[in-house]
Each structure stands twice: as structure tokens, then as C-alpha cells.
Point group: C2
Chain length 395, copies 2
């Protein structure tokens, strides 16, 4: 019989998708160019030409069986070795190929990591504001997601609430820095403190507690911001990365789990991930994309656009009187709404063709997210609409 569980899931609406659908519908009426659609976190900068050139070169020169053949379920060994080497060079780590498990994006990476370090009934803690898909990765694994309320002053970690929430059932902490939706980068101070709490709790409870570090925005960090590598602070760390944003290739679904070589069972994490994959028939990300990305490691799309957009928006928001923590990276900004009910606030904004997402589904009501992965020209045009909205509704 058709599964009631998945049928029920169809009822749960995604606010982000609803907002995006509204934007598309409105776009069909007045032209999409005239809708200031800040709803979706889709990269908007072109794929680097060097990546396209590399793909064409591979197709023209490589043996097709090698290019399109099965990859081992952990990933192509030479690709995993190159990723390990790149991480070692960039972050001063000691990975080898065996610590790298290739996944379909950071989403696949987090979902696999959760299954490897928890059992059904275990608790996983994350910090608001957080990416709402975490609910699905964790709930479907059988573990339970617990949310630490946001520290809205800085969007760093609310340690007081965290220390009240952590308990013997806590097996993993899911962190996301640079953060979706706040755009905030966790400081070295935050990560040092987090590591020290976890070290103490591991001893107290007599079991491992892993950090699962969701890092799809690791390479989108703004000028002057220090973005520490989470795994440097805590041995039991599984880093989850994706090339979706840095290379602007979200549809090609390439990412990885990198297990800190000093973590418990470090040499087993990748093979265990491949057992998880096996059960869902998933096996490995596309071979040609694995090979192509490994050949252009370190290459990035022109990510400066996001910083330019952030500055335009941040300055305007502050000048309009919004309370707003300045993003250190990503392509998100997360200001406080001008009324307590951020859903009502975002509804009113639609009258001005401004598509914003209320903070409620990110575990942070009263705030709203703008995904400024749009053209700078559109950001510029949106500022007048933002001003009209605020002046008409809140002055």
C-alpha cells in the first residue's frame, strides 16, 4: 500500500517554495524582471569558463568508459586523493583519500553523516536560525532534532541555552557556518568554546559526540572576515561540503564528507557512508563531474557579486532603521522584521513586489531572510521598493 508517512509529508507546505511560487506567478503577470525575488538560495553567477572548457576537453580526449564508468561507491579514488590534498594544503589538515566520501551535494553529505554517527532515538542539536531541510535529514534517519534558540544579538551560539539542552542522548551537533539564513560566520572564539563544551560532555557521558559541519558556503566569505575551518577545533568533526555554490553548479550534485583523521573510527566513516548509500540505491555522484571538478580544484565562480549585493542591501536596511547583523559570507541577510509577526510583514512586502521569507521556518520568528543571489542591477532597483514598503507600512 502507498505509504501514509510520505503521503502526509505532502501536506506540509514549504514557506520558501510558496514564496518562490508567488514570485513566478507574479512574474508571469508583470515580467519576472520586475519582481524583487529574494526567496530562493540558487547561485546566480555564471559557471567559470575554465570548468566548461575542462568538461569539453574531457569529452574530446578521454576514453568514454573511464569518463562515464561506475565510480566506486565511496567515489573515484584519484578524485578523493586530490580533494584530501587540497584540504590539507588549504587548512593544514592531514586527510588521505580514505577520509573522503563523495556525495550528492552538502545535503547528501549531512544526511549520510547523521546516519553514520547516530542511531534511531538519538538526539542531534542544531542552532537557530537553521536550514529547515535539516528536519528531513534527521527525522527520516530516526534521530531527533533539537533546536537551540538563536542568539539574536550576534547569531553566534547561544551557549546558555545549548548547555541546558545537551544531554546523554546527544550524539551529534549540526553546525552551519557561514550560516544560512543569517550569513554569519562563527568566530574562532565560538568554535573554541563549542569544542571545549563538547570535550567535557564526551568525558561526562562516556561516549563520542560528533560535530557535523555543513559548509556549502565555505568559499563565500567577505573581505576582512576570518572564517575558521571547524574541523581544526575539534577532532570528532565530519565536514560536509558542496561545489554547488563555489562553482555555481548546484544541479550537478557534487559534494563530500571529510572525516577528521583524528576522529573516532576515522578510517571507517567513509566505508560506513557507502553502506548508507547502498540502502538507498544511491551509490555515487556522477563520474564526469567528479573527474572535471577534481581537475579544476580551487577554481571558483565570480563570487564578488554576492559581497557587492550584501553591501548595497545592508546599508539600505540600516538606513531604513532595520536591526541587522552584518553578514560575513553566503548570499543571505537576516534582518529583524518591523513588526513582531514576520509572516504578516512578508505578506505586506508582496504588495511592493518584494519577495522575502519569514524567519519562522528557520526557527527564528520575528526575522526574515533575503537571498541576494540575484543580479546587482536588480538589487539596486529593489532598494526603492524597499523604501516605499517601509515608509507606507511602518511610518
Amino acid at each position: 500500500m502507498v505509504s501514509q508517512k510520505y503521503k502526509d509529508m505532502l501536506q506540509a507546505k514549504s514557506v520558501i517554495r510558496e514564496m518562490s511560487a508567488w514570485a513566478n506567478k507574479r512574474g508571469s503577470e508583470i515580467g519576472y524582471d520586475n519582481v524583487f525575488d529574494y526567496s530562493l538560495g540558487n547561485p546566480s553567477v555564471p559557471v567559470p569558463q575554465a570548468f566548461t572548457d575542462k568538461m569539453i576537453e574531457l569529452l574530446q580526449t578521454r576514453d568514454t568508459m573511464e569518463l562515464h564508468g561506475y565510480s566506486q561507491s565511496q567515489g573515484i579514488p584519484s578524485v578523493r586523493a586530490k580533494f584530501a590534498e587540497y584540504l590539507n594544503k588549504t587548512y593544514g589538515m592531514n586527510y588521505t583519500a580514505e577520509h573522503i566520501f563523495m556525495t550528492t551535494g552538502a545535503a547528501g553529505a549531512v544526511a549520510h553523516a547523521v546516519r553514520v554517527v547516530t542511531q534511531p532515538g538519538d538526539e542531534v542539536i542544531t542552532f537557530a536560525p537553521f536550514f529547515p531541510e535539516y528536519n528531513h535529514y534527521i527525522n527520516q534517519s530516526g534521530a531527533v532534532l533539537k533546536i537551540v534558540p538563536a542568539d539574536t544579538e550576534s547569531f553566534q551560539i547561544n551557549f546558555e541555552a545549548f548547555e541546558q539542552m545537551i544531554n546523554e542522548k546527544t550524539m551529534a551537533i549540526l553546525v552551519n557556518t557561514p550560516n544560512n539564513p543569517s550569513g554569519i560566520v562563527y568566530s574562532a572564539e565560538t568554535l573554541t568554546k563549542l569544542a571545549s563544551v563538547l570535550e567535557a560532555k564526551q568525558k561526562e557521558y562516556g561516549h563520542d559526540i560528533f560535530i557535523i559541519s555543513d559548509e556549502p558556503y565555505r568559499d563565500i566569505v567577505f573581505d576582512g572576515v576570518d572564517a575558521p575551518y571547524v574541523s581544526k577545533f575539534y577532532d570528532n568533526t565530519l565536514s560536509c561540503y558542496s561545489f554547488a555554490k563555489s562553482l555555481s553548479i548546484p544541479g550537478e550534485r557534487l559534494g563530500y564528507v571529510a572525516a577528521n583523521p583524528k576522529c573516532t573510527d576515522a578510517e571507517l566513516i567513509s566505508v560506513m557512508c557507502s553502506q548508507v548509500s547502498r540502502g538507498i540505491g544511491h551509490n555515487c555522484p556522477p563520474s564526469i563531474i567528479q573527474i572535471a571538478v577534481a581537475e579544476v580544484l580551487g577554481l571558483a565562480a565570480d563570487l564578488d557579486v554576492y559581497e557587492k549585493n550584501m553591501k548595497l542591501l545592508y546599508d539600505e536596511l540600516v538606513s531604513l532603521g532595520f536591526t541587522c547583523v552584518k553578514p560575513g559570507g553566503t548570499f543571505y541577510i537576516f534582518p529583524k522584521a518591523l513588526e513582531e509577526d514576520s509572516i504578516a510583514f512578508c505578506q505586506k512586502a508582496l504588495k511592493y513586489d518584494l519577495v522575502l521569507v519569514p524567519g519562522d521556518s528557520f526557527g527564528c520568528p520575528g526575522y526574515f531572510r533575503m537571498a541576494y543571489c540575484v543580479t546587482t542591477e536588480k538589487v539596486e532597483r529593489s532598494l526603492a521598493a524597499l523604501r516605499r514598503f517601509v515608509e507606507a507600512e511602518y511610518r
Copy 2:
């Protein structure tokens, strides 16, 4: 803590992999060309040039954001529509885009289909000989896999044993035709009888029973063999396809679930599959591959090689006295071993550099599988080794 469940899975050895590892090790000693490696079911014919040309054309002409952008989680709408249209034209069906869910290969398709039509504790029946990875797709979903013993006369369905096994807990029947490992194609008679049993049981039990039809070898069918489309025989059918074999692109992980438009909740199957995907962070197969394959639908690699190899092997096996049902498709043949213990039989074959896989893990001890997706030249050279093996060990 690291999950004991996945840790335990690492202990379970795969006989196919062990045989393949032996072949590679032996290859490093005497040259891989001199090892008659019939262990792995990896396509051996080149990717069609027209596919490579299409990939290059797309990379040279399409907007990169369109080519590499996020696909919707069910797949790119225009691609799903093209696949539906192709199936309708080829098999006289009435699919629309909404019935098609894009997956990472047939493995992903089967694993998703199982989760959509069963709940934990439900039973899924399959027929020996069967692809051993089914154990993982089903066990990890929480359902229970039941195996109907083989009809070794024909490798069609053993209906007597099947009707004893089916019960109120049976929610799905997993069929695989053309079959790995037997190479047999289910006849129209077999499928008609299967449908009629299931129609009766649906009424008796008062619930749906779905056929999950695993069809990665659908396009590898030999001259004169009629390969009926399973979904034509039974409304509650989910067809699971992969382009891995027909286009020789197993590493690119492209397949789909096609829900028969007359099945229960036909319009919900695909959206429910995307909820399953969501939980594993998987979301969608690579965009560029979806787009490229949709542009060359109907194209196939030169699959005639497999039939040539089959004939060479079948004739030699029969002339050596093996009992063997002639394959109707795939690139597998599944003869009876010359002693009861097929593991011992396959061990002895290694002395002659013949790498065969015992039937035990396919649920059919006493038989062995040869995957003849190797060059015809190698098949020809292997015949002498096969003769030496049989004459030395069994005459």
C-alpha cells in the same frame, strides 16, 4: 556514537567483489588481459559518439545556469515530459510528466519505489535468482524481503512456491526482467499469470499490491526474443529504468521510476518519491546528464556485442555438457555448476584464470554467473581455458 548497524554491515562480504578483487590482483601478476574476468556487470561497449557530441554541443551553446542549475527534486519538467512521451510511443502507454520521477539509476529507482509502497514490517517478495543488492534496498527501508525459490527448469516464476509465500503482509513484488543473473526474459504468459494472481490477492486482502519492475536491461534483448513491458500487464506497476547499460554510462547515475497512470495514487507516486529523496539529501540526478539523455532518447550503444558473446559462451557451455537455459537478454548467463557446491566449483575455476561467481548470493546455490560484458576477443580466448578446466577437474 558511530552507528553499530552500519559498522556491522562492513563485515558482510560480497562474493562478487571478492571475485573481482581476485581478478584484479591476478591481473597485476599475469596481465589483466590474461584473466578471464566474468565477475562484474559493468558495461563494456563504448558510449555512442552521438551522446558525447550532444554533451559537447550543450556545453558550447547552452546558458550555464540552465545547464548546471538545480533541477526540481522530481527531475527537470521538460525531461520528464520527453521520457513519458518516449515510453508512450514505444510501449503504447499513457504516461505524462507527472508519472516520471528521475533517480540515480535503477538502484535509486527501486529503493525509492519500495519506500513509497511499503511501511516498515511489510513484506516484499522477489524471485530467485535475484540481484543481491535488493537485500539492502529493502532491509534499510524497514520492509522484509522474501525470496521465492527458483524454477531452475526455465528461470521463469515458480508459481507454486510464490502462492504459498504471498500473504496479507505482502505489499510489493519485485521483478527483474531481463534478469540478472539468469539472462532470462519473463514471457507474456508468465506476466499474465503473475498479474492474475495479484489481482485476486488484492481483492482477497483488501489492499494494493504493487509490482516494482527493475528494468535496467530492458534494451538488451536478443534476436527473436519477445520482451513484454511489465506495466502493460498490471496497473499497479512502478517501472524502474536506468540508462547505465543502454547508453554505457553507469557512472552518470541516471534512471527513473515510471508510475503506471492507472495505478493507485498515480499522480502522487512521483511527489512521494521526492519526499523520500529529501530525507537522504539526494534531491535529483545531475542536470546536464538529464538534459543530454533527453536529447538523444532512443539512442543506444552497440549492444550487439553482448549477443555475440552470449552465443559463443552458450554453445561452448552446452558442448561441454553444462545444463544451461539460453539467455534472452542482458549480459549474463547462469549455468548449473558441475558439482553441487558452486562455491567450490568457482574456486577451482580460478586455477584456470576463470573468474566466475557462485549462485549462492543470488539465492540459487549450485549455479554460477558469468557476466560477459567483456570483449568478444577475450570471450574467444576464454573458451580454451573453460575446456581445460572442465576436462581436468570433471572428466
